[in-house]
Symmetry: C2
Subunit: 217 residues, 2 copies
């Protein structure tokens, strides 16, 4: 598969590196052509790894991963170009972290979500929200955490969710541990989980954790 | 222990009934003296169960449980009277559910929480937020759900949290499954978990579930 991974931070480089390691072609997209983090990543990741602008990355891709922060996701996807997203699976792993008086909050929150904003702004894209509930190391190596912990997917397009579930399977998430929460409006639910993730992170002092949903006996 | 449980809905009656069953004295508080749900509950719950106004319930209690909805919590506690809350452990189990265009949202959300609102409005009360992340049946009978799933506590007062942890232990939550998230500002984290709880409830079709936080191997 030819992937565009938009964003050159920890999340983008980690996801991109894992996809290359699995045999996929990945263009890491950034605002500028000569992003040093992207060039360094591509040099280390090998021949199937490339770099480019958001638009160049998206144009070449069959599947696009949004790995920029939730606050800049719409701008990055606008730069990528709606015509390069139409009909493609668009995997959104972002969280809308914002700061207010020095404290973390979310924007949007409550009655909207980044996942929904992206789907509304790019109606031709097949948006699937996933992976935003774990640290990027756990995203691509779920065995870092013990137990049958789960990852969530949501989105309007069942085929797109099936394709993303297959990608998650390559990362090491068995299909039975991928919980489908329904339409893209469930992005609110998974994005609003972030403050609990952050509270747990503060208590534990490390990011190697996740939740396992347990049911009736 | 003499408890006031404020609120005569499912949550209040379930918590009150469980506390009576454990040998505690409980006054179920409501806006009016002759609340039919409260009277029926007390008739069934036996001699250690009583009813009264919010103020009567709180005045008689050593520990107060806020089991009214998050949207009306401040009004109920105002009616209970700050002088009847001063120095007491105030257990807040509420969620600030609101509806906007027919869809569930939270109010407050993001940069505030009901737990914090209560602590600010009643600085003499020793507020502990807990139990709002599970259905009321699971609150008082955690064995309804398989596994070592957890319950959260937060609040400024360590002794108050220890007392609440003991109460949770009586309900069936072993101390090692009570996760302390720190100060009352962590109420944001557990209240913002509600949309994920609701998404899971919609997928499962039943409320007998909870999350188990899994950590590194």
């Amino acid at each position: 598969m030819r992937y565009a991974v938009l964003g050159t931070g920890d999340v983008g480089r980690t996801l991109g590196g894992r996809l290359v390691g699995l045999g996929h072609e990945v263009v890491l997209g950034s605002r500028t052509k000569d992003n040093p983090a992207a060039l360094e990543w591509a040099g280390a990741a090998g021949p199937r790894a490339g770099t480019g602008t958001f638009a160049e990355a998206a144009a070449a891709a069959e599947t696009v991963v949004n790995a920029v922060g939730g606050q800049v996701a719409l701008a990055a996807l606008e730069a990528a170009g709606a015509q390069h997203l139409d009909g493609k699976v668009l995997v959104d792993v972002s969280n809308p972290m914002a700061f207010e008086d020095g404290q973390l909050t979310l924007d949007p929150v409550g009655s909207d979500s980044v996942g929904e904003q992206i789907q509304r702004a790019f109606p031709g894209a097949r948006v699937v929200k996933t992976l935003n509930t774990v640290n990027c190391q756990v995203m691509v190596e779920p065995t870092l955490v013990a137990g049958a912990h789960q990852i969530f997917v949501c989105g309007a397009d069942a085929d797109a969710k099936a394709q993303v579930t297959a990608m998650l399977g390559e990362f090491g998430w068995p299909a039975e541990r991928v919980l489908d929460l329904g339409g893209i409006e469930a992005a609110r639910a998974v994005e609003m989980y972030l403050p609990l993730w952050l509270s747990l992170f503060r208590q534990f002092g490390d990011a190697d954790f996740n939740i396992e949903v347990r049911r009736g006996r």
